[in-house]
């Protein structure tokens, strides 16, 4: 369902339902806050440079912003807008970690995870996008195929880690999350 520039998918509502049900404290709201801060990191430079947000999609995979930076702004400014998201996340993590409060430390942990995870050079994440732009700026002919390779490598490492966690520590949560994200990607690929 699309209202204005915001598109809400059923998967997003289900994700929120699952989190609402399982969350015992304020984790859900911390994650939401962290996501908003992260997107603000993308949005502010985009606005400053005169770019335009075309669509904000809330899906089962989280928040994604479609914009016209590539067409209108050029590589440098697009890169700035891409990396500012994780930078702002990590910045907020630093800020919250300096204050002496357990709950703020939790938010710091979430922001840090958010920032670092998004910096992984995988397609669909900020890191992958940034890598693609950098390679294109350097005149690489096929930046996307390079990103595909890094995506596969990172995916294999992450997958291995998740499997280890599930097998050794009986903690299948991350493995489930990974499979869920994979399923989403697959579906997107099919529909796109």
């Amino acid at each position: 369902m699309t209202v204005g520039k915001v598109r809400v998918r059923a998967g997003f509502v289900l994700l929120v339902a699952a989190l609402v049900y399982l969350d015992e404290g304020y984790l859900l709201w911390m994650v939401v806050g962290s996501a908003v801060m992260h997107e603000l990191g993308h949005y502010i430079p985009l606005k400053i440079f005169g770019g335009k947000v075309l669509l904000l999609e809330l899906s089962g995979g989280g928040l994604t912003m479609e914009h016209d930076a590539r067409e209108k702004l050029g590589y440098g400014k697009e890169l700035a807008s891409v990396v500012m998201g994780p930078i702002l996340s990590i910045g907020f993590a630093l800020l919250f970690s300096l204050l002496n409060d357990m709950m703020l430390w939790q938010i710091a942990g979430i922001c840090l995870t958010h920032g670092i995870f998004n910096l992984l050079p995988m397609s669909g994440l900020d890191g992958g996008r940034a890598l693609e732009i950098i390679l294109a700026m350097r005149g690489s002919a096929a930046p996307q195929s390079a990103v595909r390779v890094t995506t596969a490598v990172c995916g294999a490492i992450l997958g291995g880690f998740c499997v280890l966690l599930a097998v050794l520590y009986h903690n299948p949560s991350l493995l489930l999350a990974l499979l869920y994200l994979l399923a989403l990607r697959k579906r997107k690929a099919v529909t796109a």
Binding site: A10, L94, N100
Partner: protein, 301 residues
């Protein structure tokens, strides 16, 4: 208008169903016991406490940036010294085993002086008589379930240990319930659920389920976190004016030593570690050498 703009019925249907599920999640969340949720959480997390992991990450980041580990300004407010807890004065850092050798119930040669009771003395020194003892946990002692009056014979010569303080203190801070759950065993003598003999119980037990929140009783600092054979995972908080609280049998502890906590902060998860027959919080309120009866300050049913 919108119908025309968004013809895919499927999308609308998907959204409607997912919203319904969201509503269901909210309703079950508020109206259903937490046990199921805690079970699912435990199952998919393998018992890992994510909130603790996240706050540890934040704390490590602080250490990384500042170059020093956290405990600095707040730690010395209590009886902690730079060399660790002050063990001479019954400080909070004393390993629980050392301060609480559970006293032998029948042999306590004493002058017979009894502390003033609060809401009725539960234990006094007259042996052989039937004393009102508010102690028995129906779950531990099914036989007493219908007894109702909690009256049990106490062996001859039984006196409350010196360290037990039944008087009502005016606590210099506002307090918060350390856990939700059912009262299961109070301060006083009881037949130990595992050892089967009469022992003085220095704490107040609140039975719940594994993974339930354990919250700070009052503002303070984490004085110690540890594991002991009898207490299992425990955490000790130092409060104002020499008051100390201990939370034992935790499934996990989520606060580190030296950390400042506010009343009501979640500091641990309920469990059944150590000498315990089921998930519960063993809560102790101490001041210097003595152990207070926590009951007057709690509202657990």
């Amino acid at each position: 208008m919108e119908e025309k703009k968004f013809p895919p019925r499927k999308v609308v249907l998907q959204l409607a169903v997912s919203l319904l599920i969201l509503g269901g999640a909210l309703v079950t969340r508020w109206f259903y016991p937490e046990e199921t949720r805690a079970f699912i959480r435990r199952y998919i997390s393998g018992g890992l406490d994510y909130t603790a992991v996240l706050s540890d990450m934040g704390e490590s980041l602080r250490t990384f940036v500042m170059g020093v580990p956290y405990p600095d300004e707040t730690v010395n407010s209590g009886q902690m010294t730079d060399n660790g807890p002050d063990t001479e004065h019954g400080g909070p850092g004393i390993p629980p085993e050392e301060i609480i050798p559970e006293p032998s119930p029948s042999v306590t040669p004493d002058d017979g002086q009894l502390p003033a009771g609060v809401g009725g003395v539960r234990v006094n020194g007259l042996g052989g008589l039937e004393m009102p003892v508010r102690l028995v946990n129906a779950a531990y002692f099914p036989a007493f379930e219908d007894g109702g009056d909690d009256t049990l014979p106490i062996p001859f010569g039984t006196v409350a240990p010196d360290k037990a303080d039944f008087s009502l203190h005016e606590l210099p801070f506002t307090v918060s319930q350390p856990a939700n759950g059912a009262f299961s065993s109070g301060f006083g003598y009881r037949i130990h659920p595992i050892y089967g003999d009469w022992r003085f119980h220095f704490g107040y037990d609140i039975a719940g389920y594994t993974g339930a929140d354990i919250r700070a009783f009052a503002d303070g600092t984490v004085a110690a976190v540890g594991v002991s054979g009898s207490y299992g995972n425990y955490i000790i908080l130092q409060h104002a004016d020499g008051y100390v609280t201990l939370y034992a049998h935790c499934d996990s502890v989520s606060a580190n030593e030296g950390r400042a906590v506010s009343a009501g902060d979640t500091i641990a998860k309920m469990g059944s570690t150590g000498v315990s027959t089921g998930p519960h919080l063993h809560f102790e309120l101490r001041r210097e050498e003595s152990f207070l009866d926590p009951a007057p300050y709690l509202t657990t049913e």
